[in-house]
Amino acid sequence: MREKLNSIDHFEALQDRLVSEWDRDVPTIVIPAGTCGRAAGADELIHATQQEITSRKLDGRIRLRITGCHGLCEMEPCVLIEPEGTIYPKIDPTEMARIVEAVARGEVLEDLLSQDPETGARIQKQKDLPFLKKQVRTILGRNEMLDPMRIEDYVRSGGYSAMAKVLARGAPAAVVEDVKASGLRGRGGAGFPTGRKWELLAKQPSDGGKFLVCNADEGDPGAYMDRSVLEGNPHSIVEGMIIGAYGTGATEGVIYVRNEYPLAVEHADIALQQARELGLLGEHILGTDFCFDISLVRGAGAFVCGEETALIRSIEGKIGEPRQRPPFPVEKGIDNKPTAINNVETWANIPIIIAQGAQQFAEIGTANNSGTKVFSLVGKIRNTGLVEVPMGTTIREIVHDIGGGPAGNARIKAVQTGGPSGGCIPAEMFDLPIDYDSLVEAGSIMGSGGMIVMDEDTCMVDVARYFMNFLKDESCGKCFTCRKGTQRMYEILDDIAKGSGTLEQLDLLEELAHVVKDTAMCGLGQTAPNPVLSTLRYFRDEYVEHIRKRRCPAGVCKELITYSINENCVGCQACVRACPVGAVKGREKEQHSIDAEKCIKCGLCRNVCKFEAVDVT
């Protein structure tokens, strides 16, 4: 049990003590163990490290810190050595003995270091990784500094100072002014200015109480920025919300987190308990008159619950369905009380704004798009991972400089941003600076930060069909045009992908897309047609080719392709063994053949072939 802090002075004394007791020079093994790291094997590394430290009697001489995700997906599981900043990627637990030994001796294990893909040169320090060079990791960078289950780590690294600062300053309105001056826009996707939202909340009558909500219902396929922040640095969210409550007069906070994020739930829960123990949350925070507490509500997995009004209903214990706005949540939200909802990343920015000052924050990024934005960079790209860049960075910089370009030989042809409701941006437009407004202009949205890279082996009709399939299932079904429109759009896309589409259907598809966009009640419906509209806008040729020539240029749509084996075949039988349905025939050292009748077009033969002997036409 921690001793409760009864004043701001007590808090500062604790922070000073933690800093002064901290010896920076003690060698520290840092193991990122977010959900992704654990999936890649971080738990085994941790276990092995603990054993090595104990068996070598190095307790106290070498520290082990288990942190959240650092965003280096491609390198998981990895080990970071402080204070030097040495990074060892893709480490097998059996290597930990050597690493612990080397750390104890202050040595570097060259053979375990990562290599530059172009030159083959070894890269020792994390900061020298090409993936990180162009990033500005204001938010993500803090994950490696702290164990998310220890509030002391957060406090030592400057945490809760921003909160103490606003409490000491004692002018709630100034908090809102700071956030307004910072130019911070909501990181959930729509980019509504956060300061303005808070100003509206602050103006609402406070007699019945007001709510602040952290929306951690991150549901976009392939997006995991918020999970990493909530897992890796939950106190930054808690601190952000406390500051927000102080500025807006909110009385209750809710972190709404999807139940599919068990580690985030656990870490957030621990963070709330620890903050309460220290008197940073609850009644009379740090001995002042200011009271605010936060509870945790777990979402049940409906994508639409990321939409504000559906999220509110879900928190109220009702079926998560959106309702028509106005009234806006800031007027009537949870239990009809004024409610402001911000997403995880927005909250994580708040302590930074207060700590640095609004002006300094606004200097990063561009005029109307200040600060950094975290993206999860996935798809057909070499370096997948979490990327944090200043607003205004071009897509090209992200895809080619940070992402390292295509993963294979195929040329990159587009990125998809904004999740299922986002759109595709073609390679010709990669000089587009990433900010809320440019993306909308290009027919996509920022969304919460998903970024899926697509190359020439990606079929845009298939992409649109994939997202529409997702959206038609996730449409809450309440409002008529979304429910029926997404289904009908999916059916048309399915027809086209199967070669039975017509050009008239293409017109109908566009007509439906516009109707759903214009008439749907909530953000899900209004943006649901984006994948269709943006692919039609930039890749109409692919649609027409599917319809007119019954052909899928990317070789993806199964009904339109045939697998065959060419003369490169050496008769190695690898494909014969791989085929799950026995469609590949052929004797050893003779050219094989594929029985088109039996073939289910799964592509396994092509994957296993080492001689480029399998054609898709």
Binding site: D473, G477, K478
Partner: protein, 896 residues
């Protein structure tokens, strides 16, 4: 109300502030296509068809847009039509359209939209036709749910939530598979749906349709014949058959709402088993006879036994006029005051108790005030089951953030919504209420100025609280003290607070004390004589209030004028032209005791079935068998009628004119909708004919209107009531003489109806119930009602659908007791008391607390009242049907 001016389609119009654009348009006959809007419900804005263009805003949903000054709206433009047309087409193409075979044909909102849009086959053909078909839910006996016609407007969901507050259905699943579903996607009949049919009346597209979909040729406004709520209904008639019922939205009681019995329970009217000719028993068999033969037979028998050897039991199902005539006949022609009716078995303690404390034994306030109370205290009433429309008012109050206190030995449906639930032992109401009053007095939460200004006896009363310390109260009632304290504080401080009670309070050997305790708690907190307060006994039968008002009681003439008062008696003697018996007659139970003792030899019984409804029913049957002459007047050959010498066929409420007085003292018209079935006759006609056979004067009436005029002339509280006035709507008594008295929605606003105008606080002590469990009979039997049946179910069991929803008696038993006795859910068991035994199926449920079992008395196959105790309340003479000791036995041969 502030008005704003706006322009819609170039037309300048005014609308009340707070209206939506859609409402303003519709009110001015400008049609905007819409499907999910319903005037009674919160707008959902889901159909997206009511798109309009508002200057400065672009496309907007009009059902969600409040009108604003100077707003310029267009309902039709190329922009709107571009989206609206395809939005409607998406819906139409997906609707299983077999319009001619659909019960909603010509009333369908989707047809209305299609007409507006103008359907083009080619455009529809572009869209995929539906392939999958949802199964149709046929589980409910009264209506069909066809999801294939459902447009998912959600009106049914909102009706169930906002109007009925049952929440049986909601949206389920997602996207294209979205459907309206019960919890767990079970058939409606297996859900918590109460079959009220409110959703059916509102469904715009034929997804919910009544099974009987014959449209009436004409409709007749009248009053529901079931419980005491007194809902206004329209009977739909085709030929000489009642084919539909709908609620009257203008009736202040129900505002259009109805329960399952009211809406669907009308099959008994044209039922083939209706009595259609008089019957005389010859050699143990009934023989059809003419009216002349029957009346001659009755005349000759009755003329032999005038005076106190005769008794009449009148009927709370009959009209005021009929009850008046029956008591007049009994008193003026037969020369006895031996007249009573089933009020004796339900609210006699109310009449006796409240007359003592307040001076008048009826609901002090009106039904539609309950919804505005800040606290509703429901004790001994299973309101949502027995008075469903009043149950809606409780839910309404809660919607307005009222606190709900429920006191009941059983965990009834209302407990779902209760802020405090006091689960006291059966028969411990006095202790519970005195405990609450002890808290109120100890904590100084009473209204001293009200006590001082309007009551008397506070000192003696508060002295009597001394024996109710909470230790003792806890021990007697089994309720934790913290709950008692919380309930007391809520009731005393959340004002206005209203008390609702019913038979859980009255049907006890100390029922009058229970009523006095209720009256005490209302008085000391000043919760009486003001809107949304009061002491509100919920009366059971449609006209039990009226039967009492019109004098079908042994001790009083119409208007509660005492038989023993010489001046009163002289008034009635001169009006009726005869001399009257000065001694009060016997009460209901006493009459059967006197019959048993052969002191009463002849009984004229109208519209009642005591073989099932009277406590200790075996004794009643034995008594009836000792009668020398027994006449029964009814609509069916009831269990009791089978024992009669002469049976006279009467008519239902649908076949006659008259008035019913509901539980809130509202006198309302009953209008004849069809001609009598067969040779059946209105009860008023029959009673007059019998009287005339006995050469009586004063029984010549050409229409019930004239009877009401006679009632008004003799009954001060009805003096201002006439059919002419009732045409315009009901009137609540007291309605003194004069053309313009508006009636009295709230009693006791200025003074109480007692002699000195002050209410009396009455000291009370706790008296245990007469028969408590012991080793031989270790369980308490208490009685209740089912939502789906009424009283002895003479009417409801003739309604096939109601028998589907509840087809047999069920003995509710707590799982603890069931386990101890080795009884499985659904197993047939024998329930045994000191007076008899019945068999019925067990229903294992924690609705009943351990040690208490519960049965209805609707089913002749399991006549529960064979078991009950006829221990009487000494003042009100009501038998204790809520508490008796029983044991449960497994049947021989039952497998453990």
């Amino acid at each position: 109300m502030h008005e704003v001016t706006l322009t819609i389609d170039g037309l300048e119009l005014t609308a009340d502030e707070g209206m939506t654009v859609l409402e303003a348009a519709l009110a001015n006959s400008i049609y905007i296509p819409h499907l999910c809007y319903h005037p009674d419900l919160t707008p959902a804005g889901v159909c997206r068809l009511c798109m309009v263009e508002i200057d400065g805003r672009g496309l907007t949903i009009s059902c969600k847009a409040p009108v604003e000054e100077g707003m310029v709206v267009r309902t039709d433009s190329p922009e709107i039509n571009k989206v609206r047309r395809i939005a409607a087409e998406l819906l139409i193409v997906n609707h299983h359209a077999d319009c001619l075979a659909c019960a909603s044909n010509t009333q369908c909102k989707l047809q209305e939209v299609a007409n507006y849009i103008g359907i083009e086959e080619e455009r529809l053909a572009r869209l995929r036709q539906p392939t999958a078909a949802f199964p149709i839910d046929l589980s409910n006996p009264f209506f069909i749910r066809d999801p294939n016609k459902c447009i998912l407007c959600g009106i049914c969901v909102r009706t169930c939530e906002e109007v009925q507050r049952v929440r049986a259905i909601d949206f389920a699943f997602r996207g294209f598979l979205t459907t309206i579903s019960t919890f767990g996607d079970k058939p409606l009949a297996e859900s918590i749906c109460e079959s009220c049919g409110e959703c059916v009346t509102r469904c715009p597209a034929g997804a919910l349709t009544p099974r009987k979909s014959q449209r009436p040729a004409r409709e007749v406004s009248t009053t529901c014949p079931y419980c005491g709520c007194g809902c206004g209904i329209y009977l739909g008639v085709r030929g000489e058959k009642v084919v539909s019922v709908r609620g009257d939205v203008d009736n202040p009681v129900n505002k259009g709402a109805l329960c399952v019995k009211g809406r669907f329970g009308y099959d008994f009217i044209n039922h083939p088993e209706r009595l259609t000719s008089p019957l005389i028993k010859q050699n143990g068999e009934f023989v059809k006879v003419t009216w002349d033969e029957a009346l001659d037979c009755i005349g000759s028998n009755l003329s032999k036994c005038r005076g106190d050897e005769f008794a009449a039991i009148s009927s709370a199902k009959c009209t005021n006029e009929e009850n008046y005539l029956i008591q007049k006949f009994t008193r003026a022609v037969m020369g006895t005051n031996n007249i009573d009716h089933c009020a004796r078995l339900c609210h006699a303690p109310t009449v006796a108790g409240l007359a003592q404390s307040l001076g008048s034994g009826a609901m002090t306030n009106s039904i539609n005030e309950i919804g505005s109370a800040s606290c509703v205290f429901a004790i001994g009433t299973n309101t949502t089951v027995a008075h469903p429309i009043i149950g809606l008012q409780i839910r309404q109050a809660q919607q307005n953030d009222a606190k709900l206190i429920v006191a009941n030995p059983r965990r009834i449906n209302l407990c779902r919504f209760a802020d405090v639930f006091l689960q006291h032992r059966p028969g411990t109401d006095v202790a519970l209420l005195m405990g609450m009053m002890r808290v109120i007095v100890d904590e100084g939460l009473f209204d001293s100025s009200f006590i001082e200004g309007r009551t008397e006896g506070f000192e003696a009363f508060s002295a009597s609280l001394s024996s109710f310390d909470l230790d003792r109260v806890e021990q007697i009632t089994g309720v934790e003290r913290k709950n008692i304290i919380e309930a007391a504080r809520i009731y005393a401080t959340c004002k206005p607070a209203t008390i609702l009670y019913a038979m859980g309070i009255t049907q006890h050997s100390h029922g009058t004390d229970n009523v006095l305790a209720i009256s005490n708690i209302a008085l000391i907190t000043g919760n009486i004589g003001k809107p949304s307060t009061g002491v509100n006994p919920l009366r059971g039968q449609n006209n039990v209030q009226g039967a009492c008002d019109t004098g079908a009681l042994p001790g009083v003439y119409p208007g509660y004028q005492k038989v023993g008062d010489p001046a009163v008696r002289r008034k009635f003697e001169s009006a009726w032209g005869c001399s009257l018996n000065e001694s009060p007659g016997l009460t209901h139970v006493e009459i059967f005791d006197a019959i048993y003792a052969r002191a009463i030899k002849t009984l004229y019984l109208v519209g009642e079935n005591p073989i099932l409804s009277e406590a200790n029913a075996t004794h009643v049957e034995e008594a009836i068998n000792r009668l020398e002459f027994f006449v029964v007047q009814d609509i069916f050959l009831s269990e009791t009628a089978r024992l009669a010498d002469v049976v006279l066929p009467a008519v239902t409420f649908a076949e006659k004119d008259g008035t019913f007085t509901n539980t809130e003292r509202r006198v309302q018209r009953v209008y004849k909708a069809i001609e009598p079935i067969g040779d059946a006759k209105p009860d008023s006609w029959i009673t007059c004919q019998i009287a005339k056979k006995l050469d009586a004067k004063g029984f010549d009436f050409s229409h019930p209107r004239e009877i009401m005029d006679e009632i008004a002339s003799l009954t001060p509280s009805y003096a201002g009531i006439s059919y002419e006035r009732l045409e315009k709507g009901g009137l609540q008594w007291p309605c003194p003489a004069g053309e313009h008295h508006p009636g009295t929605p709230i009693l006791h606003t200025e003074r109480f109806a007692t002699e000195n105008g002050r209410a009396k606080l009455v000291p009370l002590e706790y008296k245990p119930s007469a028969e408590l469990p012991d080793d031989q009979y270790p369980l308490i039997l208490t009685t209740e009602r089912s939502l789906y049946h009424f009283h002895t179910a003479t009417m409801t069991r003739k309604v096939a659908g109601l028998n589907v929803l509840r087809d047999r008696e069920l003995v509710e038993i707590n799982p603890k007791d069931a386990t101890a006795l080795g009884i499985a859910d659904g197993e047939t068991v024998r329930v045994v008391s000191r007076r008899g035994e019945v068999t019925a199926d067990a229903k294992v449920t924690d609705v009943s607390p351990p040690g208490v079992i519960c049965m209805t008395f609707h089913f002749a196959e399991s006549p529960t009242n064979v078991l009950t105790s006829s221990a009487l309340d000494p003042v009100a003479k009501i038998p204790e049907t809520k508490v008796c000791a029983v044991r449960i036995e497994r049947l021989e041969g039952a497998v453990a």
